[in-house]
Assembly symmetry: C2
Homo-oligomer: 334 residues x 2
């Protein structure tokens, strides 16, 4: 049994920089047609020069693969109509991390200054630049996504033509919210469709399943799955694949995020097949993002066959999601 | 500033066996007067011979320290009035792990067979042997303690003279339950008074704070603290100190439990001092257990002074709780 997917897209991807970029970019580029590249380098991607230069490094890293890196900039308080207008030809979206999602707040939007940045949302609406938001407060880890909604609902209502993408939603409340407003969209990862907090911290602690936002309750995972399987036009796949070397994962203080780029499509096919929805996978994996972002990524047919594949224990020094486990679909060529 | 504590007790302690026993037993025996020793070796401690032999190994391991190991046996379906009567002179309590708390159910009490073991509870009540219960179901990790209450409330009501100790409570619901019935008591760890799930899985994942039951929500921690600080007669300190070598903690699949034995008393003094309750620490750390178990442990005065102490990074190959952090009290002698 075979399946072909035309132009799978990864609409939220961390490619890092330097040696790690060179390791992981080809793994994404091999089977995805395009990706939305996150700007949170150190320091973050903020200016046109940053964008152009990072894009060049990505294109060099992916070598000869046909893959379009759609670029983003880091939301910051110096953005205005003119800078956004100039940026527009180089970026697909602006990514916002409210300062409360991290202790490293130097580069992040100050919550207290939200009134000061209202004009930026206004400009983005006028210029039709989508806003991607890391959708969490700084509350208790199981509440931080749920508690974000009442704060940002005002933004959603004030700019009804501004496309707002709730990034990496993980809760039932978010799954409900995305359907409530016409201008709200969401990305969902593979791992949040597959795991719950039980997988991370129950019998044994699994650092390679430790991600942000943390995987939530079984009913949350079910709500995400329901949203995807009803073929909602408002949700896009993104891997949030973010590699960390094993030394940062198996240690006293382990870094967050999981590495799924090379095996995400196979698991998605398996998941949709299990739910008798395989023929609609293209919506989640491709078409919805094309419609939402109005993009036309390069055509790339990836072909899979129903044949077991053992996930490697490592890609160099990065341990992938579901390492040493079997997925029931394989690419016909790597 | 100095404080003296007479006969601190650790009423739930894992000493392991073999080389690990020899490493950790002296660390507990140095400052505790006695401890209730958990029977979950592999295979578990079940018979008089098991108890006597394990106790001998413990006494050898603690060398010349004045320390009484109060022994327990593993609850199993072959216990009856006669075996319990014979065991009574060697043990202080029976420890029960319902099978649902682990996948390794071979040695554990089968839930489905609860009716078959009713006579054992009857015998324990008659013989006045307390029952310590690992108080969790096999539900979602954040619900498993809360969901245990309705199941075991029947046991509490059916045997109103059987002393039931809810081991290592971590939730507000358990803190409320312990006050609801005269025959219910509880143990609380140091770490559950200090950390929440945020410490385990928020910014960075911390395997050395990964314990069972998992640390819960801020309001749960507050409820435990309130119970202890109101000088409840029904709660006892226990460290649940359980050492794991660093190779089992900083790896792909990390073992649970934390190692607090050598630094628990110092942190308890700091915590009670912070809440202006230092003069009542002896209830939690000593007197309540003496009253509940009707024991008379050896007198051992431990003396602390208000002087900063840096927790070591390791005890041999075991990383302790709050490693490399400072506690504001020190023992005047080690």
């Amino acid at each position: 049994m075979y399946i072909e997917i035309n132009s799978p897209l990864d609409m939220h991807l961390h490619l890092r920089d330097g040696a790690m970029l060179n390791l992981v970019a080809p793994l994404s580029a091999r089977h995805f047609s395009a990706g939305l590249i996150m700007p949170n380098l150190v320091p973050p991607i903020r200016t046109i020069d940053d964008v152009v230069s990072y894009k060049k490094r990505i294109i060099r890293a992916i070598q000869n693969e046909k893959f379009t890196p759609y670029m983003t900039v880091f939301f910051h308080e110096q953005l205005d109509f003119n800078t956004l207008q100039a940026l527009k030809k180089e970026i697909l979206a602006v990514k916002m991390y409210p300062d409360w999602v991290t202790t490293n707040s130097a580069w992040w939007v100050k919550t207290v200054d939200l009134a000061k940045i209202w004009h930026i949302f206004e400009a983005m609406q006028t210029l039709e630049i989508p806003l991607c938001i890391h959708w969490e407060t700084n509350d208790f880890v199981m509440d931080r996504e749920k508690n974000f909604i009442p704060i940002y609902e005002m933004l959603v209502k004030t700019y009804p033509k501004l496309k707002i993408i709730m990034e990496h939603i993980t809760t039932k409340e978010s799954a409900d919210f995305v359907e409530k407003y016409d201008n709200v969209y969401a990305t969902i990862t593979l791992h949040h469709l597959m795991i719950t907090l039980d997988d991370v911290v129950w019998w044994l602690l699994q650092p390679h399943l430790f991600c942000k936002p943390i995987a939530k309750r079984p009913e949350d995972r079910q709500a995400l799955l329901n949203l995807v399987l009803k073929w909602s036009k408002k949700v896009m796949f993104w891997s949030d694949s973010a590699p960390h070397p094993i030394t940062k994962k198996e240690t006293k203080y382990c870094s967050a995020w999981v590495f799924t780029a090379p095996i995400a499509i196979q698991f998605l096919v398996e998941l949709f097949e299990k739910h008798n929805a395989i023929e609609k996978l293209w919506l989640f994996l491709c078409q919805n993002a094309k419609d939402i972002y109005k993009i036309n990524p390069p055509e790339k047919i990836v072909r899979l066959e129903k044949k077991e594949y053992m996930i490697p224990e490592r890609y160099y020094d990065v341990v992938p999601f579901k390492h040493e486990q079997i997925v029931s679909w394989s690419f016909t060529h790597w």
